[in-house]
């Protein structure tokens, strides 16, 4: 059981972001995706997150070839993959409505309309919503409107929102690059706790220390090519590719 891209290519008009990238994420592991800006980290995450169809290659979620599957199958499989972005991207409503969203879209339209009616709808917050918020210490803010949250709190809610519908794979695009150290630690701990279960996580980051702190494996992406992929310790202590060594040295000085 894994989330896997095989020889995928992504092009935007004349620009080729990558030609043939292959990566596999197993359940229960954290893969850090490191590389300089413009290396294609976000594009690779969006491909893994099934946002756009790659120009070539296959994307598999638990063996299913996503872009060869039926619309229905694809939706089912897509719903086992979640994503947290650099920006919280919260909807302009309450914390609770945000965190409930993933559960809500999985319900039938009938139930969703019923829930809009105060008398017959179910008004107590579902347990997964409370649990997901507890994971990032935001359970007391459940009825708070999102505009009164700080940036760090908003990002913690964004994390809870992605956890509430019980994804199998979670993708993070620079999730802590706008955060202070305390909120960064909360998010990192939550990622580790989440993957201790069955979740496979990919964390795109330009912070190599973060990769060292949380990742089981690291993949280095340079100019749209996975230069090296391997266990965190090994990649940082004895990189096989000279470009990896150069990247690590450059970054560590910096």
């Amino acid at each position: 059981m894994a989330l896997r891209v095989e020889n995928v290519a992504r092009r935007f008009g004349e620009t080729t972001v990558f030609e043939a990238v292959s990566v596999t994420i197993e359940r229960g592991e954290i893969l850090a995706l490191i590389g300089p800006s413009g290396a294609g980290k976000s594009t690779l995450l969006r491909t893994l997150g099934l946002f756009e169809r790659p120009e070539a290659g296959t994307v598999r979620v638990d063996q299913t070839d996503i872009w060869a599957a039926t619309e229905r199958e694809r939706l089912t499989k897509r719903r086992s993959v979640g994503m947290v972005f650099q920006e919280p991207n919260l909807f302009g409503t309450t914390v609770r409505r945000n965190v409930e969203y993933g559960l809500r879209v999985r319900r039938s339209w009938r139930t969703r309309f019923r829930d809009l009616v105060p008398v017959i709808g179910n008004r107590t917050p579902p347990q997964p919503v409370v649990d997901a918020l507890s994971l990032v210490g935001m359970e007391d803010a459940i009825e708070t409107p999102v505009e009164s949250l700080s940036g760090g709190e908003a990002q913690r809610v964004a994390f809870a929102r992605a956890m509430a519908y019980d994804p199998t794979y979670l993708l993070f695009d620079e999730p802590t690059s706008d955060l202070d150290p305390r909120n960064t630690a909360v998010i990192e701990d939550a990622v580790i706790t989440a993957t201790r279960g069955e979740i496979g996580a990919v964390v795109a980051t330009h912070d190599m220390h973060q990769a060292q702190r949380i990742a089981d494996r690291v993949a280095l992406l340079l100019d749209g090519e996975v230069v090296e992929i391997g266990p965190t310790e090994q990649l940082f202590s004895s990189p096989q590719d000279p470009r990896t060594q150069k990247f690590i040295d450059g970054e560590l000085v910096y």
């Binding site: 997150g49 946002f51 939706l75 897509r78 719903r79 993959v81 979640g82 994503m83 972005f85 920006e87 991207n89 919260l90 909807f91 302009g92 409503t93 969203y101 993933g102 879209v105 999985r106 505009e147 964004a158 929102r161 992605a162 519908y165």
Partner: protein, 226 residues
């Protein structure tokens, strides 16, 4: 004097016709405009700027010209001739749709356009279908969309040119058939019935002002929608 006028069924029938025509036109315009605004707002395609320009031009389209075109369309030789709509409230609804739809589309479009793509990505990432993502986009743009609908209503209820041409300003048995507030004011003033014209003018002003007050309130609410 004013109480006498207000107790007169004539005035009320005019208000009723005005509201019936404009509210129906706005409801239909909204149903027509919102999907267009949504599709144009969230997709990128060749000619999007041109389409935007066309919609913006439509927002300022002269109402007499619209009236003329709708009159041609509903006249016996026109494509809608068989429906026998000349000088009916329904013909006025048609012309107000043509006038209001670009206003609603244009304002909603810019509201939808300004919804951050990240919001749509988030909805999609949480398992939303294309329809779910569209609903989220509309919710995020709701103040702008409401402003567009109210502005469209303001344009429809206060225009005089097209309803005069396609409606004909008809009264039968002392009760309005196709006479609206605007066409009535125009006629009463020309006949020297200034009291009646003034009362009708006041009613129209109150209607338009209330709508504008709502627009302004929504506008200030839109600032804290995100």
């Amino acid at each position: 004097m004013i109480t006498a006028l207000l107790s007169d069924g004539y005035i009320w029938s005019i208000i009723r016709v005005s509201l019936y025509v404009s509210l129906t036109a706005i409801a239909l315009s909204a149903v027509l405009s919102l999907p267009i605004a949504l599709i144009v707002g969230v997709t990128e395609f060749r000619g999007k700027r041109l389409l935007n320009a066309v919609i913006t031009t439509g927002m300022g389209f002269p109402s007499v010209v619209v009236g003329l075109l709708v009159l041609f369309a509903v006249s016996n030789q026109g494509p809608l001739g068989p429906l026998n709509l000349v000088f009916t409230p329904e013909a006025m609804i048609l012309s107000q749709i043509v006038l209001a739809a670009p206003v609603i589309t244009g304002i909603s479009l810019s509201a939808i356009d300004s919804v951050d793509g990240g919001i749509r990505d988030a909805a999609y990432a949480m398992g939303g279908t294309r329809l779910d993502v569209a609903v989220v986009t509309i919710k995020e743009a709701k103040y702008g969309i409401a402003t567009g609908i109210l502005a469209g209503f303001g344009r429809a209820i206060s225009e005089v040119g097209s309803v005069l041409i396609v409606g004909g300003n008809i009264v039968s048995d002392g009760s309005s058939y196709t006479r609206t507030l605007t066409t009535a004011i125009q006629l009463e003033a020309r006949q020297g019935q200034f009291e009646t014209a003034l009362v009708l003018g006041a009613v129209l002003l109150v209607l338009v002002l209330s709508v504008n007050a709502i627009v302004i309130r929504l506008g200030s609410g839109g600032g804290r929608s995100r």
